[in-house]
Every structure is written in C-alpha cells, then in structure tokens.
Amino acid sequence: MMTIDFRRDPINILLLAALLIAGFFLPSWLRFLLQMAVAGGLVALGVMIQMRAGLVSFGQGLYYCIGAYAVGMLAVKMNVTELGILIPAAIIVTAVVGGILGLLLSRYRDIFFAMLSLALSMILYGLLVKAAWLGSTDGFNIPAVSYLGHVPAQAVREDWSYVLTVVLVLISCFAVARYLASGAGALCDAVAQNELRLEYLGTSARKVVFIVYLVAATISGLGGALAAVAMGHIGPEMTNWTTSGGFVFVALLAGRGSVIAPVLGFFLLELVRTYALDYAPNAWQMILGAVMLAVILLLPEGLWSLVRRRSAK
C-alpha cells in the first residue's frame, strides 16, 4: 500500500531465491549470463535506492569497477586468491572510497549530483585506460580462486562460483530491504520530496543521502567483485559511462517498489543484449536510449508501477 513500505519485500526476495536455485540447472551459457547479470544487478539496485532519494547516479560503474579491481589487483599483484579475503577486501575498499566521495557528493542534489557522479566514474576510466601496468583498455585476467582454502576442481569451478554469487546477492538483497525498512531508508523518499521540511523535523537530509550513497557504493562494489570472480577478467569498461547507462536504464525501468526488480531487470537487459548484439552491434545504446525516452514519456514510475497498480485493485 505504501511507497515507503518494504516490510514484505523479503517475500519477493524468496521468490528471487527460488528462481536462482532453479537457475542452477540452466544450460551453462545461460546460467553464466544469469550469474553475471545478478552481480551487475546489485549495481542497478544501488542506482535504484539512490533514485528513491531523488538522486540519479550516472557513474555507478565507478564502484562496480573499484570492487572488481580490488579483487583483481589483490589476486594478480599480491597473489591473494582466497575469497575469504578478496570479497571482504573489495567491500571495505568500496566502502572507504564511497565514504570519502560521499562526504563530497552528499552536499549535492539533482543535476550536480548526476554530473559529478558521471565525472568521477570517467576520471577513473581515464586513469585505467592510461595505466599500462593494469593492461590499459584490455584489463587483465584473474587466476582461479580458493573458497576458504578449498580450490574446486576445474569441472565444478563454475558451480562454486555460481553458488557464491547467488548466496551473496541474496544476502545483499535482504540487507538492502532491511535498510529500506529502517528509519534511514524510509527517509530517502522524504529527501526526494521535501528536504526543507525534513530539516525542520530535526533530521539531516545530508546524512540520509550520505548513508544511501554509502550503501549503494558498497553493494555495487560487491557486485563488481562477484563479476570479477565469475568472469575471470576485468577491464576499465566497467566504469565507462555506457556501462553505468545500463544500470540507470534498469533502475529507471524497474521503478522503486522492490529490491528484486532491478536485479531481475538487469538479467532481462543482459538477455536482450546478447541477442541484440548479434543483429545490430552498433544499435544497442540507441535501443537503450529510445526505450528510456519512451519510459520517461509514458511511464514515469517505471514498470514496477504496473505490477503495483494491478495488485492494488
């Protein structure tokens, strides 16, 4: 009933869990696509929760990339291949960067927030492209990793990686739903709608924004780390503006009603893209842009609003 009500979202997440368990038995190419998509879906979820606060992050790929490079650099440059270290390290690195940049960005709203987030992600892109020791535009490969000391055999390596991704994505979804159901989460909507009133009720809008930015950065970083492990390869493309554009696209389409919407949405996007790239390799962004325009013109609340509208009847 309420736009700020996330108490029942865990049911949606259980639904997602069932889908992902069933996904284990998909053909391996499709399962890999699903795995990559739900990892990226965390980034789209990060964009979505910021949209609840009225903030559009055109540069969420920044944290996707930082999470991935944290894993990659630890694994390749420091020979750490234990996931028990890699994943927490990636989370800590993105949280620290998110915390520092959050102090700066939480002052801004609207177009300034949007443009500054885009600028930050493109600065990192510019740096990585020029960093020959990190493989420049090509990026680099990541060696096989161990799961708490256990290195799975080649034949089941992909199974392990899939299970890892699914488990961590589901935990993140629960955590984000829990955050959205808390005071700090509920107030995001209030920031978007009337900051002045919020200040006059004794709450710092800047703090609410800082928290949502930090949460978004952290889950995006985790998404990047999981993508890095799954793919075994990373590159600066992860923080390019076109990558971030995909996340904005999904968040916009998914609406703001459920944490599973952006995750599933990103899977659908990746699925469509796989085919679209075969037929029209240079038209993908054009399709994204055109659909975005159509959604803005016709469905201001995103596709999720269709689901809600129907269930409200």
Binding site: A283, M286, I296
Partner: protein, 298 residues
C-alpha cells in the same frame, strides 16, 4: 623563459578551446534550465561533419583558405539541423518538467546519438589535418607555435563577444535575458517563450558543433570523443557557475591555465588539473564562482 611562453600560449589555447566547448552548455542551461548531456554528442557530430565536409572539399581537388569557409558553414548547418530536430522532436514535449528528468532525457538522447554517429560514420578514425597545417608556425619569443591554435583563441574571443553583444543589444537576445529572469512574466509580457527556447537550443547546438569543427583538424575523429567533452564542459561551467556566460569564460581560463601549468611542470597530473581546480572551487563555493545565491524559499 621559453617554458613560461609555452605555458602562456598553451594556457590561452586550452582556455579558448574549453570556452568554445562549454559556452553552449551554459547558454542552454541558463535560458532553458536543461543540463544538456547530449552536448557531447553535438560536439562529436560537428567534428564528424567537418571531417566529411573537408573530405569532400579536398577530394574535389580544392585547397586553400576556402576550407575555413566550409568549416564555418558546416558548424552552422549541422548545429541548426540537429538542434532544431532534437528540440522540436523531443524536448518541446517536456518543457516545465523536473530538471533531473531532463538530465535523464538528454542522457538518453546522448546514448541514441552516439550510436547514430557510429551508424553514419562507422567506427574508424577520420583525419583532416590540412587546415591545422595550413598556416604553419609563427615564432613567439623564440618559440615556434601553431598559428591555427592562436586562431582558435581569436575564434573563441569573437564568439564570446558576439554572444555577449547579441544578448545585450539585439532585441531577441534581450528577450532571452528576460526569459532567464522570469519565464512566466516574460510569457505574460507577450514574449514567445517556446520560440526563444528553440532559438537558444539551436544556438547552443551550433556552438557545440563549432567546437567540434575547430577541433576536428587537430585530432583523430573517432567514437567516444563526446563523453570526455561533456565532462570537461561541465567542469568548466561549474567552476564559473552554471548558466553564466562570463562564468564559463572565467572557468575556461582558470581550467585552461591550470592544465597548461600542469602539462609543463607536472605532466603526470595533467588529467587531474582541471578536476582538481573544480574540486577546490566547489569546496569553497559549492555552486561555482558566479552562481546566483539561492533565494529565500519560505
């Protein structure tokens, strides 16, 4: 001494380029309250159109100064055609909507135009160096310098002056200023606001295309040149204060010289020079140097 001259000349040349790149963005924002991310695409289209037009020009066996006339006409033609098409086709339906929504709209347009550019011109690089080489070098205090780069400075100054004179003297320009001050009162006074918007957007697009056209002979025209430009342009206008044309000029000079100093004294920080200046300015004045103070809301 030579280094100082080099810093001064490079600073001037970067500043001029940054101003050309940023002035259309700030003009459109100032009048229409639309932060136009597609500005980067307009710049790229200008550069590609220039490459094509000059390709045809030289291909026909012509040479010489006529190339510069071709470049000027290309900027105006592409700017007007693309700008009016976007304004009429898309933006006109959305006037009065939220600023953030308009950013999303222009972002979507940017995505579309990037691919459109690839479809029309392909993904290979274009080179049209002839106009850049045409004037050769001039000796400035012992330092040979590209005349073309100095001419870009002249073009930037002329553009800025023309815009300023037009806004303050011409009837249409003064109407624009009125629209900036108060949209509703201007409409009530009989100013045709939609028409002002269309003209503003067309001029802003011509300026973006012009920036692309003058840059094309200096670079490899290839996919991806637009995104860097929109971010630099945003940094420049943010330093000066979004929506202010003198602000864009000041921002361009500050950013241009910051980059020139960095290139010659600390090249490893070149990439950061402009962003560092932006960060410092924002830390002191969160909405730029010339930004209007927020009015009382309650």
């Amino acid at each position: 001494m030579l280094k100082l001259i080099a810093i001064l000349l490079d600073g001037l040349s970067y500043s001029a380029w940054l101003f050309l790149v940023a002035v259309g963005l700030t003009l459109i924002y100032g009048v229409m309250r639309i932060l136009n991310i597609a500005h980067g695409a307009f710049y790229a289209i200008g550069a590609y159109a220039c490459a094509t037009a000059l390709g045809l020009y030289y291909g026909a066996g012509w040479s010489g100064a006529g190339a510069f006339l071709v470049m000027g006409l290309t900027a105006i033609a592409t700017g007007i055609v693309v700008g009016l098409a976007i304004e009429r086709g898309v933006l006109r339906r959305l006037y009065g909507r939220d600023e953030v929504l308009m950013v999303l709209v222009t972002y979507a347009l940017f995505l579309i135009l990037e691919d459109a550019t690839k479809m029309i011109w392909g993904v290979e690089s274009y080179f049209v160096y002839q106009p850049y080489a045409y004037f050769g070098f001039i000796d400035v205090g012992g330092l040979p310098y590209q005349v073309y780069d100095l001419l870009v400075v002249a073009v930037a100054i002329a553009t800025g002056l023309a815009l300023w004179l037009w806004l303050t003297r011409a009837r249409m320009g003064r109407m624009m200023i009125a629209v900036v001050a108060d949209r509703e009162i201007s409409a009530a006074m009989g100013i045709n606001v939609p028409r002002i918007f269309a003209i503003t957007f067309a001029i802003g697009t011509v300026l973006a295309a012009l920036a692309g056209v003058v840059t094309a002979p200096k670079i490899a025209v290839a996919p991806g040149i637009g995104v860097e430009v929109i971010i630099l342009a945003f940094a420049v206008v943010v330093i000066g204060g979004l929506g202010s044309i003198p602000g864009a000029a000041l921002g361009a000079v500050i950013a241009g010289f910051a980059r020139a100093v960095s290139v010659h004294l600390a090249p490893e920080f070149e990439l950061f020079a402009i962003y560092a200046v932006m960060a410092i300015v924002l830390a002191i004045r969160p909405y730029g140097l010339f930004a209007a103070q927020g009015e009382r809301k309650i």
